[in-house]
Structures are given as structure tokens and as C-alpha cells.
């Protein structure tokens, strides 16, 4: 880790001015990504601005059934927050399926959205990586890419987006609130995560110094009964090979509303819009679920090592929908 400076400012405006005022300025929240990557020399912040005491760390219930999650709320606290557990079980389940108890105590929700990919070539400064060093090439394309993405890939980058909770947030149409030196804005969650395309170094649309203040999840009665299923190489403390956030409403045997998003398979948390469109108006049975999953995965670009993810994600979608519709299971 290169030498760096540190400051714990007294208010948010000062924090924003400090980061915006230095090209090598960066925010420090839980530190689980920033300190890790700084030690690997993947990032080289010259000034870390500690925002842990500055921004809201609580979950606020919104009228009408939504919640507003402060950006400094810790993963562990959000996971057991009663309105989240009650209204959006998929968020709680996704949070608890991620990382470890220690990391969940540290990592903030805002930081979770900004976490870096876990691609081994991105983390190793000796390897070619267009995300870390644009134009240098991508060692993963012909390297060990069993865990890499099959959806949203480009010939510049195939790194999988690592977040679990972001998958649930994408399924729920969450909105990211930010502050800039000159004000603030809102960004819909699906626009927050950028596909690698020709600019894999750009993972989200935040300007330098722009600070996430809150994540708002709008009301979604369908999500009161929802699941997050995660499939991985070991049972706990591991990133997803494929995961699904799902909610579904069935009336008289017919699908009338559905939310589906995939993790572990996309370069961004993947809203499965093709599968959703395929399901609406169809009977809530295995044949429809399988057909919907196949339509979503038809756009996959697998490689020999990760081709298994097509079938894994397909089965994961079917399993999630069956779990929700099987005789009124939880």
C-alpha cells in the first residue's frame, strides 16, 4: 500500500469538497474493498476521507410500503431491520448470503454498491486488465474464467459483478440517492450499474466526489413473499456461481406479476426482463418457468469453463419460482 493521508471531516459538505478537490481523493466507509485493493496496489488513493460518522446508518419506513436505507447502514443491520425483513425478505436473505458476519458488520450499503469485481486478474497488478489499466487487454478472456460472467460481457471484460444484495435491489427497482458538490440526484439502480462495453473501467455513473447518501426501495407488495437463492462452490462465505432474486404473484393459476434478477452470471446485477415478460399471463408451472429461464439465458455468451452457468442459472430460476409457488411455501 502506498503512503496516504487520512481525514475524518466534521460534515458531509467538507467530505465532498475534500474528495472532489483531489484527483486521488477517495471515500472510506467500511473499508472492506478500499483497504483491500489499496494494499494490493489495485487502487492508489492519496487521501482517504472517512465518512463513517457522517451519513445516515438507519432504515426508515416510507409511507406506502417502501424503505429508505441510509448509505452508511451496515449489511448486518439492514439484514435484520424489521421493515426490510417484513417487506423485502429477498434483501435480507441476499445480505445474509453474502460475505461473513465480520465483513457484514463492517461493510456499508453504499459501499456494497461500489464494491470492485473479484476477478483474479483485476486483483493481480501483474496481469492484464482493461478495468484496472484500460487498453492493456483482458487476461480472463483466455485465462481461468470458470467464475466469470456469461451475460453482459464484452471483448474487453467478463468480470462478474460480485454483490448479492444488489441483485435484490435491481429486482425491486431501487433508487440510489447521491450528493454532488453542487447538489444531488437520483439514479435508478439498473442505470447505476454499467455494462463493461468498451469502457470497463467505468462501473457506475458517479462523478468524482459524488457520494451515495441513501438507497430507496419503492413499495412492492409482491415482494413480501420473495426469495434470494444462491448457488456456490461451498455452502457459506463464497461468491455466487449463480443466484436468483425472485418474487411472483399468481392469480387463478396464472402469473400476474413477477420480479426476477440474477447474480453470479452477469457483468452487472442482471434484471431478467426477458424471463419476466415470458412469464406474464402464463400458467405458474414448471414448463413456463423453464421456458422463461431459457429465454433469458438464450442471450448468454458462455466460454468453455463457465458454460455450466447457463444450465445452473436456468435451474436456479426454476427452483426459485417453484419455491415461491409450491403450495404457498414461505
Amino acid at each position: 500500500m502506498q503512503a496516504l493521508s487520512y481525514v475524518r471531516p466534521a460534515d458531509t459538505d467538507t467530505a465532498i469538497a475534500l474528495v472532489a478537490g483531489r484527483p486521488d481523493g477517495a471515500y472510506l466507509a467500511g473499508g472492506t474493498t478500499e483497504v483491500d485493493l489499496a494494499r494490493l496496489d489495485v487502487v492508489r488513493p492519496g487521501l482517504l476521507v472517512d465518512i463513517n460518522d457522517l451519513l445516515p446508518d438507519c432504515v426508515v419506513e416510507l409511507q406506502g410500503g417502501g424503505v429508505r436505507i441510509g448509505s452508511m447502514a451496515r449489511m448486518s443491520d439492514v439484514a435484520c431491520s424489521p421493515p426490510v425483513v417484513e417487506r423485502f425478505p429477498m434483501i435480507s436473505q441476499a445480505l445474509l448470503a453474502g460475505a461473513s458476519a465480520q465483513l457484514r458488520n463492517m461493510a456499508s450499503m453504499g459501499g456494497n454498491l461500489c464494491q470492485a469485481v473479484r476477478c483474479g486478474y483485476f486483483r493481480d497488478v501483474a496481469s492484464a486488465c482493461n478495468k484496472r489499466d484500460p487498453g492493456r487487454g483482458c487476461a480472463a478472456l483466455e485465462g481461468i474464467n470458470r467464475g466469470h460472467a456469461i451475460l453482459g460481457v464484452s471483448d474487453q471484460c467478463i468480470a462478474t459483478h460480485p454483490s448479492d444484495v444488489a441483485v435484490a435491489l435491481v429486482a425491486l427497482n431501487a433508487v440510489v440517492h447521491t450528493r454532488l458538490p453542487g447538489g444531488g440526484r437520483t439514479i435508478s439502480i439498473d442505470d447505476f450499474f454499467l455494462l463493461p462495453g468498451d469502457t470497463p473501467q467505468r462501473e457506475h455513473p458517479l462523478d468524482h466526489g459524488e457520494l451515495i447518501t441513501a438507497i430507496e426501495v419503492p413499495a412492492a407488495p409482491v415482494a413480501r413473499r420473495s426469495v434470494y437463492l444462491k448457488f456456490r462452490d461451498r455452502q457459506s462465505y463464497e461468491f455466487a456461481l449463480a443466484s436468483v432474486a425472485a418474487a411472483i404473484r399468481v392469480e387463478d393459476g396464472t402469473v400476474t406479476e413477477v420480479r426476477l434478477a440474477l447474480g453470479g452470471v452477469g457483468t452487472k446485477p442482471w434484471r431478467a426482463r426477458r424471463a419476466e415478460a415470458s412469464l406474464l399471463g402464463q400458467p405458474a408451472d414448471e414448463a413456463s418457468f423453464t421456458e422463461a429461464a431459457r429465454q433469458e439465458l438464450a442471450q448468454a455468451s458462455p466460454r468453455p469453463q463457465n458454460a455450466f452457468k447457463v444450465e445452473l442459472a436456468t435451474r436456479a430460476i426454476v427452483r426459485a419460482l417453484q419455491t415461491l409457488t409450491d403450495g404457498g411455501a414461505r
Partner: protein
Amino acid sequence: MSTDVISQAAVRGPQAGPAVLYVNGQEHGLRVEPRVSLLDALREHLGLHGSKKGCDQGTCGACTVWVDGRRVLACLTLALTCEGREVTTIEGLSTDGSLHPMQAAFIDQDAFQCGYCTPGQIMSAVALLNEGHADDDTEIAEWMSGNICRCAAYPNIRAAIRDVRDGAGGEG
């Protein structure tokens, strides 16, 4: 405006400077660079060698300590972020020379071989009981998954946790 703002904020480093950490109920003055982790501050500056450095990248759990009563990873925590907070390490668990019940239970149940991960395991195990996540072995395994044991003493670690949960830990 931003120039004023920046001059008012107390930017520290990159050189070493004075810092104050509150560890195991005691205040410690030290001089550290801002890039120094809590783990290195404890081990290299304060002589508290109980917390172990395994991976130094947040994957093994050997460095688990408590900050303000919550279990965290000292390797991914910068020391300066802990100023004004209460740090507890394995050295702070025992009182007046007698082992914490979890330490005694680890000995009773032979819950380690090489012992390198043990301080982190114990800091996590005590936190686990406080959090209320030790109803059965499945739950214990899930909520202890952030602490890796290369000797694979997991069944014994779970047995030690069960002992303390059930009040059978005793004084060793």
C-alpha cells in the same frame, strides 16, 4: 469555499503522527502512518500479538477483534478509523488472569491444533453467542464461516461453542 473547507479539516499523514487508541479498557498513545491497519497497530506498535495475521486481505478471520462491541476484521480496518472507538482483542477477554469461559471451553474441547486461527475463532465465537446465532450446529457453522481453520478443528470448535451456550463451559 473548498480551500477554506480543506484547510479547516485536520488532514493527517502521509507521515506517521500521534494517535490514541482505546484497547481493552486502556488508552494507548502511538505514532502511526494513516495506512497502518488496526491489526499492525495492535501487533507492531502496542505489543498485542494475540490477533493474528493470516491472509491480510479479509478472507481468513484470524485477525477478528471487536470494535465498539462488534466483531470486525482488523486487517481491513485502518487504525486511525478506530480513534474514539472501543477496541477489544483476545487479550481483553480474560479477567484477573482467569480465562473467559469460551477460552476454557476451547481447551476442554481441544478446539484447535496449530492454534493460529484460535484467537479469531474465540473472538467470533463469543460475539456469535451475544448475537444469538448459535441455536444449532447449522447456524453456528453459518455464522462462524468467516473464520477459517486449516487444521479443520470445526467439530471441536462447534462443541466448545455449544458448551458455553449451554452453560457447561466452566472454568476449565
